[in-house]
């Protein structure tokens, strides 16, 4: 419940009663119970466990009722903003509508109660589902195979680069470097490093993209691959992508595409047709599986013919008779990248979404996502600085350059947006933009919501002129106000203690 309070009495009343919810450990009271099990129906055998192996009571673990638990998590949930409640324009995260049908079907008992180590003949439904989503992604990517094993984008990156490494090693020289533009997401260099490579950073040009010459110069015999995001983190498409592929392929190197931004061209163009050798896609972005406060996700990886032998094992294959099986027989495989079968129940959600959208719907995603971003771009242009003027697709990156003279910065603008009821955009990324405000509305947003957001952004721009202090001290209407993050890092308190 919100609006202004007229009195300190009320003021103090509210934080306590409606905003503050103690830790579950602080609700604990001796003797309370939140569960019941059936009574033990077998003899109680005192020697079932050697005394030395039996722990004492779990000191400080909670004792609460079911009521306490439901109240606690219901109240905490109210402190979050979410896609279900409105625009959540985190650039690069593709915060789109998460259809409830996906949740319903993922809970189908046959899926939810199946076990990862059942023999193939018992899980034909699951194997069929994995096979069908691979077929669908093959068509979307324009590539011959896709592994469904990786459980996140970064996991897919590692998987992809490991395949490149293995392929090169097999042909005699694994090489030393991965080229990565300075606009790239942090997981790219991190994944490349864990895959055993050193990173060479490519400076982007004035459009924010990679120059052919810069690339050509950088691609030596030591370069294993270029790892590039298409469109890049400015939302700008690498128009020369096909030439990039040629340059790399000429030198025996690979083209890795970070597909986090697939939402902007799904159904419009296909990575495979661009000469891309490897691409991961975040199903929790383009394919609507819920972000869940940070996860779970899935990061399937599509590869070109040359890399097929190196895919993780097992793969799912279809027999003549229409049955499916797990194929462990890939001698050149990099091995498995996770136990069991990846985030299977995320795949159920994603395939449900792909079927709900269909070919025309997928294309419409890109159309409207790009339309929405460009609408925001058009409406906010005058009010905020646009560091890169090149046409952008599904997201637009502004900076705080026009506001800094008033000593108001991106962080302040982000916080002030909260007072207007919006989640802020991604900020200070990509790194090539000082004070970046990275806005990705996705196709889900209706025009009214975009207008309300733009109105708020414009109002804030005015506030920066007229009442900068108001913006600098924002947020004013959130359950808590600005936090002392330095303190959190200086003297870390990472768990509750009595």
């Amino acid at each position: 419940m919100t609006t202004i309070l007229e009195s300190d009495a009320a003021t103090t009343a509210v934080p306590q009663s409606t905003n503050r919810e103690g830790l579950i450990f602080e609700h604990s009271k001796r003797g309370r119970r939140g569960y019941k099990l059936p009574d033990l129906d077998v003899p109680d055998d005192a020697d079932a466990l050697p005394a030395s192996l039996r722990r004492g009571e779990i000191v400080d673990e909670v004792e609460v009722s079911e009521v306490d638990v439901i109240r606690h998590f219901t109240r905490l949930s109210k402190l979050n903003v979410s896609i279900d409640a409105g625009l959540y324009p985190l650039g690069s995260c593709t915060m789109k509508h998460n259809p409830r049908l996906n949740e319903e079907l993922a809970r189908t008992p046959g899926f939810a109660l199946s076990h990862p180590l059942q023999p193939d003949h018992q899980v034909q439904g699951n194997l069929g589902l994995i096979w069908h989503i691979e077929q669908t992604l093959k068509e979307i990517f324009g590539l011959p195979r896709v592994t469904m094993q990786p459980v996140a984008g970064a996991h897919g990156e590692l998987t992809g680069i490991l395949m490149v490494h293995k392929a090169l090693a097999k042909s005699g020289n694994a090489r030393k470097y991965i080229l990565i533009p300075d606009s790239a997401h942090g997981t790219n260099p991190a994944s490349a490093a864990f895959a055993g490579y050193q990173i060479k950073e490519l400076k982007s040009n004035s459009r924010g993209t990679v120059d052919i010459d810069t690339l050509a110069a950088a691609v030596t015999e030591d370069v294993a691959a270029l790892m590039i995001t298409v469109p890049n983190t400015l939302g700008v498409f690498e128009t020369d992508i096909k030439r990039f592929a040629e340059i790399l392929h000429d030198k025996g190197a690979y083209l890795y595409c970070d597909g986090a931004n697939l939402n902007s061209f799904v159904g419009i163009a296909r990575p495979g047709d661009m000469g891309i050798d490897v691409i991961h896609s975040n199903l929790h972005k383009t394919f609507s599986t819920p972000h869940g406060g940070g996860g779970p996700g899935a990061g399937p990886v599509g590869v070109s013919e040359r890399l097929v032998p190196f895919l993780p094992t097992p793969t799912v294959e279809k027999r003549e008779d229409g049955t499916f099986y797990l194929d462990h027989g890939h001698p050149d495989s990099i091995g498995r990248v996770r136990a069991f079968n990846g985030n299977f129940n995320v795949l159920v959600r994603a395939l449900t979404y792909m079927r709900s959208m269909g070919p025309d719907g997928l294309r419409r995603i890109a159309h409207i996502a790009v339309l929405n971003a460009n609408y925001i771009r058009a409406r906010l242009r005058g009010s905020y600085h646009l560091p890169y003027d090149a046409p952008s697709l599904h997201e637009v990156v502004f900076s705080d350059k026009l506001q800094t003279p008033k000593d108001v910065h991106t962080l302040d603008i982000a916080k002030r947006l909260m007072d207007y009821g919006f989640h802020p955009p991604t900020i200070y990324f990509p790194l090539i933009v000082a004070g970046a405000l990275m806005i990705e509305p996705t196709e889900s947003e209706p025009k009214e919501e975009l207008d309300a957001f733009c109105d708020a952004m414009i109002a804030i721009a005015r506030e920066c002129e007229e009442r900068p202090e108001l913006v600098r001290s924002a947020p004013h209407t959130t359950p808590v106000r600005r936090l002392d993050e330095a303190r959190a890092a200086r003297q870390p308190v990472l768990r509750w203690k009595r």
């Binding site: 076990h115 970064a154 990156e157 972000h291 136990a339 070919p359 294309r363 509750w496």
Partner: protein
């Protein structure tokens, strides 16, 4: 569809007009589109895509099924799910790293709240205190359960968790290249480690077990040379046997290796002495057993808890306590300098998206069960397993190859190939266990049987009866 991934882009476009299309998940319809194009100042949506060269643009729609109504999707997906045999219509004794435990009814309904389901990583703490505080609580539960000091917000799962633990250990010890992993660690976990480290020049040394099913300490002592940076054991291990942490710690300490305890059956922490109490440095494992559906292997949740000294090497997100400008207690993502978005190529891990919602479910489970419930779940698993073990021991030609102490999983041996015996049980609507043959040479007649609080005495008795019947059928 299977092989249509190749596409000739030269044929003339037969694409429908963007303006005519409409979809229930996309609010803006033709009227909105027109208004917006006008503001943007272009006369068509296609104009917005001019930076994509025509040479790579599709000239036809993708060749995939759909669009389907919810009605059609329900039919198709339910039919598909019905092709599985599962615990939905069988009594299951499957474990091996994925366990069917009691799932309290309120958890799934709370997880469906949009505030949890449809928010993302709490980068902006002022509007994400709900997620942040639950993670802080989750971290606290992990510490209490493992007896260690610092837990992270979650990792992908147990297997990738072990990978991260090994990488962490190497960062700490430095200049050593060997890691010792017990063969009784979940084989798919070890496989995953091999994949992760294949280009980092580590050597993985495996150590077997003795007749009781516990780590062969003699072999371990031999393996623990001065160039070993970490020793990883699982308890209860893949054979169901509970390891002797102290004996292993002593050996590892002698060579100055980081001691990693792997836990794949998280409910065991409710009743077994935790690794922290035995001087282990890292507890890492799979949290699925805390009320998460087995759902064919994922999503699950990896947990990692370490000694305080290691916290700045920790992979993944960490939530810490602080105050806001008004002095109110609040929570925030912290120690971010470890992470990829700051440290990039030098980060402690490449993880970004994790398993937050699953961790939240586990957090709710741990709170509901609480101090007493976690103990009772452990006790019931223990007692029902002991009951089954006794009954099997006597029965016919069944033997239990390993004599060590167990929690809720045992290896069962018959004179016949496990796959045959299990196929036989399947006809009795029993998913009887996991054959060990595929994991360990020479164990074709062995299979792994898991018992939880959900099994009734009747289930257990029926299992023994069905098993002995199956064996005598094989006899003929």
């Amino acid at each position: 569809m299977t092989s249509t991934w190749r596409r000739n882009l030269t044929n003339v476009s037969n694409l429908p007009d963007p303006l005519t299309s409409v979809h229930r998940y996309i609010s803006n319809a033709s009227e909105d589109v027109r208004e917006m194009l006008e503001v943007i100042g272009v006369d068509s949506i296609d104009k917005l895509f001019e930076t994509i060269p025509d040479e790579v643009k599709l000239t036809a729609l993708l060749d995939i099924p759909g669009p389907w109504s919810e009605i059609e999707s329900r039919r198709w997906f339910r039919e598909l799910a019905a092709k599985n045999k599962s615990a939905a219509d069988h009594v299951s004794f499957l474990g091996g790293g994925a366990y069917l435990h009691y799932q309290p009814a309120c958890i799934d309904q709370l997880l469906l709240r949009g505030e949890f389901l449809t928010s993302y990583t709490p980068y902006q703490p002022e509007v994400s205190q709900g997620t942040l505080q639950t993670i802080f609580e989750y971290q606290t539960h992990q510490c209490l359960l493992t007896g260690l000091d610092v837990a992270n917000a979650s990792l992908y799962d147990g297997s990738t968790g072990l990978c991260e633990a090994v990488l962490l250990a190497e960062r700490v010890v430095r200049n050593r290249k060997k890691v010792v992993i017990a063969r009784s660690v979940h084989p798919q976990y070890t496989e995953t480690v091999r994949t992760y480290v294949q280009n980092l020049g580590y050597e993985i040394v495996e150590v077997g077990w003795t007749a009781d099913g516990r780590v062969d300490t003699a072999a371990l002592r031999e393996a623990c040379t001065s160039d070993v940076f970490a020793v990883a054991v699982q308890s209860p291990n893949f054979l169901g046997v509970i390891e002797d942490y102290d004996a292993i710690r002593e050996i590892a300490d002698a060579c100055g290796a980081v001691k990693i305890a792997v836990i794949t059956e998280a409910t065991s922490l409710g009743i077994l002495t935790p690794p922290g109490a035995h001087g282990f440095d890292i507890a890492v494992g799979e949290g699925q057993a805390w009320g998460i559906p087995t759902q064919f292997g994922g999503p699950y949740v990896g947990f990692m808890v370490v000694k305080d000294a290691l916290k700045r090497h920790m992979p993944g997100r960490l939530v810490g306590e602080t105050v806001d400008v008004d002095g109110r207690r609040a929570y925030v993502l912290t120690l971010a300098t470890r992470e990829q978005h700051i440290r990039r190529g030098k980060a402690t891990s490449n993880i970004c998206t994790n398993e937050a919602l699953i961790a939240l479910g586990a957090n709710m489970y741990l709170s509901l069960m609480g101090k007493e419930g976690l103990r009772e779940v452990g006790e019931q698993c223990l007692q029902k397993t002991a009951y089954l073990r006794k009954k099997l021991n006597g029965a016919g030609s069944i033997s239990l190859p390993f004599s060590g102490p167990v929690y809720n999983e045992i290896v069962v041996r018959t004179p016949f190939p496990a796959t045959q015996i299990l196929a036989d049980l399947e006809h009795e609507k029993i998913l009887g266990g996991i054959p060990l043959g595929p994991f360990y040479e020479g164990h074709d007649n062995d299979f792994l049987v898991a018992v939880t609080e959900l099994h009734t005495r009747e289930n257990l008795d029926h299992f023994v009866a069905a098993l002995t019947a199956a064996i005598s059928r094989e006899r003929r």
